[in-house]
Amino acid sequence: MHLRPILALNNLLFLPVLKKIAILLLFCPLWAAAQNFTISGYVRDKSNGESAIGANVYVKEGMTGTATNTNGFYSLTLPAGKYTLVCSYLGYDSYTDSIDLQSNLSRNISLAPLGKNLAEVEITGEKTDDNVQSTQMSAVQLDIVQIKKLPAFMGEVDILKSIQLLPGVKSAGDGNSGFYVRGGGPDQNLVLLDDATIYNAAHLLGFFSVFNGDAIKNVNLIKGGMPAQYGGRLSSVLDISMREGNDQKFQVDGGIGVISSRLTVQGPIVKDKLSFIVSARRTYLDVLSKPFFKYIRPKSEFKGSSYYFYDVNAKLNWKISDKDRLFLSFYNGKDIFDFKDTESSFNAHVPWGNTVACLRWNHLYNAKLFSNTSVSYTNYDFSFTAAQSGFELTLFSGIKDYTAKHEFVYIPNPRHQLRVGVNYIYHTFTPSNVSARQGETTFDIGKIIRLYSHDAAAYISEEWEITKRLKVNAGLRFSYFAQVGPFTRYVKDQFGRTSDTNVYKPGKKVIDYSGLEPRASVRYSLTKTMSVKASYTRNYQYIHLASISSVSLPTDVWMPSTELIKPELGNQYALGLFKNFHKDMFETSVEVYYKTMTNQIDYKEGAEPQDNVFDNPDNAFTYGKGEAYGAEFFVKKRTGKFTGWIGYTLSWTWRQFNEINYGERYLAKYDRRHDGSLVITYDPNPVWNFGLVFVYGTGNRGTLPNGLFAYEGGVSYDYGLRNSYKFPDYHRLDLSATYTPDREKQLARKHARMERRYARKGKDLSTIRLPRSWAKNYQGSWTLSVFNVYNRHNPYLIYFDAQGDFLKGNYTVKGKQVSLFPILPTVTWNFKF
């Protein structure tokens, strides 16, 4: 079975054609005739060897420069001459050096983390204006250091929660997993961890993301203007890079919190060459809740319920030589939720999780050309088992991918960057499958349905600085998708009953789709600190997530495109104005976007999970269109004692399905007219640091019954128009304070105490040795986090509680709201050595 996907890859006819185009471009006279040389190398953190991603490397003369890529590599081709080379990166002291470029130069740069004095940071260069200069619009890069300063929910730093504080990115509300970018559904975001896809990026109900902050280095979110190297999703890319592991010395960090604890161990196996990092995290609500329920709340309906999750991240980073690097990364996480209702003998067991592994090879052909090759594996699975009085029902689903990617990047000079690459994924989907048992009898619910497909793409993109003012990034992506057997299609008669079956043998093509996806973005600089950008992207999405209820649950199922489910198509237009103030201390932007989406899927009205049995799951879907538009405002303060941002989005998200809501257009459940966030971090000195987060969003939308009536002796409901009800608005304030004792002072005080004691006992002061538990490198800190400071009861669910008999005239209805999180304080102790 593994050979077939590779054969399919070789059959892609366009691959040799693209290689020819790439070679032709190499010989095009695109640059000046003067003798040019290239200075290149790697930029890394001096203290631990971590590559610096997105560091600015430029020369003061002519203000030409570039940024380091995900490996920390930069390449700058300039005419021969003398230059002042500067490298700057937020959080580090700038690097400056004079160079005389008379031949190709290899220069690796080690940056020192900022000194302890955190007073006004001086910006030595002017290249920290990336948001104005780059063609990439609608993108935000978040540094893990920034994320760690924000108030942490339950003591856990959370990347998903942090990106939801940016304009254009909405959370689904408390307890709902997934996030929405510019009106797109939760399945329209490509989440990558070191090149491998993650399908369900959240632990239970979205309280925590699967990303352990200690293992992550960099987070890049692209909301629009998606460049051609990414595809397969309509709305966004969340590209997360793991840390590489300290290649200088052994390091342990961790934290013990009220709900969860984490530990990270990293270090060099061979200094400067081979390093590793292993991070693990576990919650222990299950261990704590058992005694709690036994002694304190024995009558609670939750007694006997438990929940915990764990995750493990590991990475091996091998710098084989200056030309070759190899990375192996791994992630495994699992959530287990157990519910036991002691009264009715009903119990449920719900495990789910992701496993991801990726091997990546980075090769430098020369200073201008390098390539990235990776192979990865990802598996997401979920099951729900409910049992009562000997009857047991299990619902399970999952998705498994084998992926291979290869890309060439060619940087002939600072004004051009060419990328050519191919991607291939072999998907195995297990959409909702059901098995049932009564005592000893197993019910026959048919074979397990599995769906197989090939998903491939080839792209070429070029970033071209046409003039100093005008820069263009243009790309073309060609994508192809084929569903293959083994597969059985149940052909339906006019009653919807199965009249015939079409059986496809393993590997045989059932249906295929392909399309061209042009991508373009343009940046025009109005002044040195102000630019206007525009972008247009066209995306195909071949895999879909169908959600059966209005509240998102892990029961949501991934499906490939089939004969009935056509690929989703998105077109996004964006326009933005970007301006930096006060020497890049303030970054501001205004962006407007308009997006159309076709072939959106949803369950037919009245669909039930058992419709799947002896049937193709895609018969339960109906298809329609989506339209989203809005404006995003963003002001960010990057440096100083106070840093943070304020973001506001005004947006509309519509859906129109012929078979839903009588074919009338309706607002999506996650339509949120106003969405605002305020984030402030205050670092008055190295010992104290404070964080504040305030969010405000218009409530989600839902469908509630608008009328009731009696029918055959029972009460029935007349539901209102789809999503015509708006939930109460969501708002919340979180605060945090972190205390990091000054280690030097602590050691000095300890030494002084020991001196006094030795003096009292008449001991020789020169024999004073600090005990081992006071290791010099140890650093501890305490964080106090309060979530939802003013205890706002944000709605999670709204439902009606009806009592009495309508026909007897004593029928009463009460509206009820369930909220999840009242005010929640947590304390975490963090340590590092």
Binding site: S549, F709, F800, K808, P825
Partner: protein, 294 residues
Amino acid sequence: MMKNATQRYLKPLAYGMALVLAVLCASCEKDIDIKLPAYKEKLVVEASIETGKTAQVLLSMTAPYFGNVDLSDPSRFFVKGAFITITDGLVTDTLKELDPSTGYLYLGTKIFGQVGKSYLLTVKYNNETYTGVTNILNPIPLDSIYFKAERDTFGFCWAHLTEPRGQGNCYRWFAKRMRDQFFVAPYNSAFDDKFVDGTSFDFSYERPPQPGERDGYSDQPNAGYYAVGDTVIVKFCTIGNAEYLFWRSYYSNRSSNGNPFAAPANIQSNVTGGNVIGSFCGYSPSFDTLVIKK
């Protein structure tokens, strides 16, 4: 030394844990005032015709779900003075209101249901016209019915059916004991042949409450059971596909009552004309009697 350090750090954590747990478990639920959009009432049509009987139509209006509505008198929602006709293509019958002062129940007089015939129902009320179409299909009989005790002398009524292959049949089960007044359909009493097409199988239904027993029925001892000594009459009806889809969506709608995790189940009416909910269902019964002996 290390032990003291550990104690020093972990004690505040332990207090913190207990506090958070206590707070977590008190997940908040409260009453709220829900503001629903302005509501336009719909006409509710509960209409049926069966072999050997005339058409029967119950007509009422929906009530706004939430807000200042007086629900103390359900007869406020009964519809009076509607003009209802039924035709089989040859003869047209005007239904008569049983009690013009209350309205609600309309009965046919001239047309009696016959196997193989199609019927068109027309309701004219408040300057609107609503129509529904149904058929009385060929009745599929049960092979047999029998009693299986669950608890002492109480149990369910079981049936054995050989389902004809490839006909796309749908069914609805009604039953009553000899001493009961009405045939009542239990919960989820309609099914199609999707899983059972062409197979021979057994199934059972519980005993549903008679209209007078509904109040507090589930608290009764032995609720839902038939007892030794009962004589049960089963009216097993064959119905059409559109009618089955109505009943399926109707039961889905009733069970999604207040359940916020379920997709809102709109009822798939087979009566059309605008602001209307309901069905016009043609039943083709076959009867079986079961005497539950000791």
